[in-house]
Symmetry: C2
Subunit: 212 residues, 2 copies
Amino acid sequence: MLSTTSRTTLGREKQRGSSDRNDLYEVLDSGLVCHLGVVVDGHPMVVPTGYGRIGETLYLHGSTGARSLRAGDGGEVCVTVTHLDGIVLARSIFHHSVNYRSAIIYGRPRLVTDPDERMEGLRALSEQLAPGQWDYARLPSRKELAATAVLALSLEEASVKIRRGGPKDEAEDYELPVWAGVLPLVTSWGEPEPDPVLPEGIATPVHVLSRE
Amino acid sequence: MLSTTSRTTLGREKQRGSSDRNDLYEVLDSGLVCHLGVVVDGHPMVVPTGYGRIGETLYLHGSTGARSLRAGDGGEVCVTVTHLDGIVLARSIFHHSVNYRSAIIYGRPRLVTDPDERMEGLRALSEQLAPGQWDYARLPSRKELAATAVLALSLEEASVKIRRGGPKDEAEDYELPVWAGVLPLVTSWGEPEPDPVLPEGIATPVHVLSRE
């Protein structure tokens, strides 16, 4: 079960909440970037960034000089991952909606200093965005590792919202001669585009070609 | 030119910033949802939500009871719109990246009370998510309007970041026998799915069928 603190107990549209831990993992594991919210000088700041998950821990990373990470180190953050699955077209403008899956995590990330956990966190981050590359590309050097901050955020305080299915209109509107339904949004991988300076004879790896 | 306050002057990766107003409009106008950041009891909160643009104003809406909008009314918000265009696969893990276009807007939204501006703001919000529907579906009733809060956010303080193109590796890594390039991420509309209870004889409107 997901925790139900005052923040993760949904204030509205409770039927869209999910307390299934597997839903949380599914939303996180199928995402590519999150939106990281921090408070800087009392003001909100939201930046898109990569992430990775190992068990009950979300890993974030960034340059050791990035403002968003500096603010996040020790302070509270909010991490939101959103999948937009379709536009819900109702008979009335008011009931237009979107089908989506989103996860929101609150917490205070800790700066990861243990070398092994740093590498495992970076591996999770890398594999989330580009699965198969950790064992294929050149691994980080000591200098590159030193330039990278890794943060760990517990998934303890998290909530998931999912909306699926067609429009819900007012009873009297179902008689209107208005089309209603869902326009699905589909995300897919295009053809890999080789770096123009890539030497001949280096084949596109299977894990890139066959990515799902 | 975009404003260059201390927040919108990019701290890092300056070459990815853009001060072209048209880039800002393009990123916003081609998006579907934004991530709205607010500060609630000193803590960041990031929620996905719809938006619309008219000129130099971004419109947001929500139930009059929603926490995120209550916090945003008068307080400062951060609105981020992100398009993920591809995964940049480099010869080294460290230089993996993403191609993306993102806009970040800071400001204090004002609650829109003028009836005409409220309708125009809602129209912009509706057309952003579902173009063509405002003139097709049933318009909001007085009761529905009363349940909807509309906020206006100036685009005065905004920044745009765009990354395009292939990987940038360390000079010595170009000799590695490692494939490098971009795996594009493509977003497209699927086949419209009619509401199962839709009466026969109501055709899918052209603006839904032909949406680009």
